[in-house]
């Protein structure tokens, strides 16, 4: 009663006083907020400038062109200590992207397997997957990364390296494995692979259209795999099947030949993959369980084969639930790759941190890092939004 009574008075007053005019108050609040933001920004700018001047720290982004003077252990593009800070940061960005891309692929595979295992009818598979999920997601990702980094650092030295297979080594220098020696013929193999992928996608698309039009099912899995594997194989055979393996050998204290993954890369990759995989597993499980049982029962009643039910009934519907939260997991994996700074993997934050310490230009260095991560995040969300639009319910 009292509330209604007071409100009555309010309304009466509202018609007379400007203070009680909702539209006026809305404008007033916004003006106040804008003034506060401008004032705060001005004060911060003033203070930062004054403090930087006092400490004789340069401002602006000129440092990007100066010589960095530090080496980076792992680079995808050519780089040495004579190069600029800008190039060093670019190396960092590429390292961040490469570990994040590998992590996203591996975490998706691991998460999908574990998610399906959790809803599997096999009791053993389901409890093992639950154990994995509960353990990995309830332990901080920092601990995951530190743990694996310590494990790899404490592997035997190259002389006593573990060698699960001929030519493959696991040591505190990382994972070393044989690769084929470069050969001009391989260019054509890559071209053939690309062509095979395009053809396979085209065939798949055509088969789907054909199925939708006529209702006739054309098996695509084996033909597609045939094209993707067969074309490069044919290209390789036609050119005389050149193959010389570069096998790593122990020379002195380290390995020569072959290719290697650095310990830091492996540790970071394993850490973020195990952690994010557990979250993706939960998302996949929830997605599969979100498909009503009636859908599966109806498909069985129609006599559809088991594999077909999973592929054409359950999975497309589950994807609608799976894709949006998986996007945020991909984003968080990418951001967690910044933990490379902890274990010495030269990712963006690591290089940026070194830059910060050498130049003292904290504001600019951190701004660069933040801007790049924002850019990566926005790109991933954009890509996943497009994919989401493809799998989302088509309302006709």
């Amino acid at each position: 009663m009292t509330v209604a009574h007071e409100a009555n008075i309010d309304i009466k007053k509202g018609s007379s006083s400007l203070l009680h005019n909702l539209a006026f108050r809305g404008v007033a609040y916004q003006v106040l907020l804008a003034a506060a933001i401008v004032l705060l920004a001005y004060l911060l700018y003033q203070n930062v400038n004054a403090n930087l001047e006092k400490q004789r720290i340069a401002t602006g982004f000129d440092f990007l062109n100066e010589t960095s003077g530090f080496d980076i252990g792992e680079t995808l593009i050519e780089y040495d200590s004579e190069d600029s800070y800008g190039r060093a940061l670019l190396v960092g960005i590429m390292n961040t992207l490469s570990v994040a891309a590998c992590g996203i692929v591996l975490a998706t595979i691991l998460g999908t397997i574990m998610g399906i295992a959790r809803v599997s009818r096999n009791w053993l598979a389901s409890i093992l997957a639950s154990g994995y999920v509960e353990i990995c997601r309830n332990v901080p990702v920092v601990l995951h990364v530190i743990f694996w980094a310590s494990v790899i650092r404490n592997l035997p030295s190259p002389k006593q390296a573990l060698s699960p297979m001929e030519g493959v080594f696991l040591a505190n220098r990382g994972f070393i494995f044989p690769v084929p020696e470069p050969n001009p013929a391989y260019t054509w193999v890559w071209v053939a692979l690309a062509a095979g992928l395009v053809l396979a996608f085209g065939f798949n698309y055509w088969a789907q259209k054909h199925r939708e039009k006529t209702g006739k099912y054309i098996a695509t899995l084996w033909p597609c795999m045939g094209i993707v594997i067969g074309l490069p194989l044919a290209a390789w055979l036609v050119q005389g099947a050149p193959l010389v393996w570069s096998v790593p050998e122990l020379k002195g204290f380290n390995f020569r030949g072959g290719a290697s993954l650095t310990p830091e890369f492996i540790a970071l990759l394993i850490g973020i993959t195990f952690y994010t995989g557990a979250f993706i597993a939960e998302i996949v499980r929830a997605g599969i369980q979100s498909v009503p049982v009636g859908q599966i029962e109806a498909s069985r009643a129609l006599g559809i084969r088991r594999g077909f039910i999973m592929r054409y009934i359950t999975f497309p519907q589950a994807l609608r639930v799976i894709v949006p939260p998986t996007t945020s997991q991909y984003l968080s994996l990418t951001k967690n790759s910044s933990l490379g700074v902890l274990i010495g993997y030269p990712d963006l934050v690591n290089v940026g941190n070194t830059t910060l310490n050498q130049t003292g230009q904290a504001v600019e260095a951190i701004a660069v890092m933040m801007a790049v991560y924002l850019g990566i995040s926005l790109t991933i969300s954009l890509g996943m939004n497009i994919y989401n639009r493809i799998v989302a319910i088509k309302e006709r």
């Binding site: 804008a34 403090n51 009818r121 096999n122 009791w123 601990l143 951190i366 890092m369």
Partner: protein, 383 residues
């Protein structure tokens, strides 16, 4: 369509099946049905050839690994010894590293003689926390006095400087108590900010909405590490001369704002789920914006968003471990520092497993608890 066709098509087939099947099935005794264990195994382990194969592979792996793990972790393990040589002689786990180093691991750089104060603080904290989790005590008359006393005791114990306790600077705080302080500070500071950001994002006033969206989206797009860098490296530059904030406070504020941005999105989800009628009814009763928000909308929105809110609270606990990067001595940093000791460095696996178990315990309890709260809140509600 299906409703009309199903009854017509179904009965004849069902009768036909019944005629042929029943006599045969009576002749065959159901062998596995009699023994529950066998039936359970058939259904859950050997339902199909593929399933059987999977069971055999996983079973073989378990039979190979589990005894080896038990032998390493329990049978051959050294539980207590001050002498690393003893551990070196053994093939099993060296839990003695935890026994030997538990004080620097759990309490970090805090002065050794004053560790008892941290034990008291932790006990008070965990005690009050447990009481808060119990539903019977969910009354302001109980919780407010409880936490007033608890916070007073905890801060007296941590800081000291009164009652003859020596003063300890925050830079010396460490270990599990620091993790607790960071976690609680993040959640307590962050939650109101989260609510304001969520309400701001739903506001009709364009500038307020734009400000909230910018803050939420830009901070969610960057890693926590960069925010901690800002708190440690940039924030001091932005303050006028003579004004300084403690590093711990700066880090906590940074983590709180980061937490708030994620939490705001979860709360916004809850707000969006409130039917329009609720707003309209509140407005037609003449409630002001804040009356409507605090009495009608938020209680419902927070209840709907509860699972997500709890997820981010658990994430906040795990995120405290990021302070390792900026050199605050939480339990993980302290352990990493302890593992520099050349005498004990070999047994880092045991030490990290111990820390993992500590985090796992708290996170797992919180996640199970959040499921329980969801059940409580949905009692008597069927929509």
């Amino acid at each position: 369509m299906t409703d009309t066709t199903a009854p017509i098509a179904a009965p004849p087939r069902a009768e036909g099946q019944a005629d042929t099947d029943q006599p045969r099935s009576r002749q065959q005794p159901p062998p596995t049905e009699k023994i529950a264990v066998l039936r359970w195994m058939k259904e859950n382990l050997f339902a199909s050839p593929g399933n059987t194969l999977l069971t055999i592979i996983l079973g073989a792996a378990l039979i190979y690994w589990v005894p080896a793990f038990i032998k390493w972790g329990f049978i051959d393990a050294i539980w207590y010894t001050p002498d690393p040589e003893v551990c070196r002689q053994s093939d099993g786990a060296c839990w003695a590293v935890v026994a030997e180093k538990h004080r620097p691991m759990l309490f970090g750089l805090y002065p050794y003689e004053e560790h008892w104060r941290l034990v008291v603080a932790l006990a008070v904290y965990l005690g009050s926390f447990t009481i808060t989790l119990i539903r019977r005590f969910w009354h302001w008359q109980i919780l407010v006095p409880l936490w007033t006393v608890a916070i007073a005791v905890i801060s007296t114990m941590l800081w000291g400087g009164v009652f003859g306790l020596t003063f300890v600077e925050t830079s010396q705080w460490g270990g599990l108590p620091l993790t607790m302080v960071l976690f609680s500070g993040t959640v307590v500071l962050g939650f109101p900010i989260a609510i304001l950001l969520a309400l701001g994002r739903r506001s009709h006033l364009p500038l307020i909405k734009a400000t909230s969206v910018t803050i939420i989206e830009s901070l969610r797009g960057v890693p926590l590490i960069t925010i901690l860098f800002v708190a440690v490296n940039v924030f001091p530059l932005a303050l006028p001369d003579g004004l300084e904030f403690d590093k711990l406070v700066r880090v906590m504020v940074g983590m709180a704002i980061f937490f708030a941005c994620y939490q705001a999105e979860v709360i916004r989800g809850g707000l969006q789920a409130i039917p329009r009628g609720q707003y309209e009814a509140a407005e037609s009763l003449g409630l002001s914006y804040w009356q409507m928000t605090t009495r009608i909308i938020l209680p419902q929105a927070l209840r709907i968003a509860l699972p997500g809110i709890m997820n981010h609270i658990i994430a906040a606990l795990k995120n405290t471990s990021f302070v390792l990067i900026i050199g605050l001595f939480d339990i993980l940093t302290a352990t990493t520092a302890v593992m520099q000791d050349p005498l004990w460095r070999r047994w880092f696996v045991e030490a990290y497993l111990f820390v993992a178990a500590v985090y796992f315990f708290f996170c797992y309890v919180l996640s199970k608890y959040s499921q329980q709260v969801e059940r409580w809140l949905s009692e008597g509600r069927r929509f």
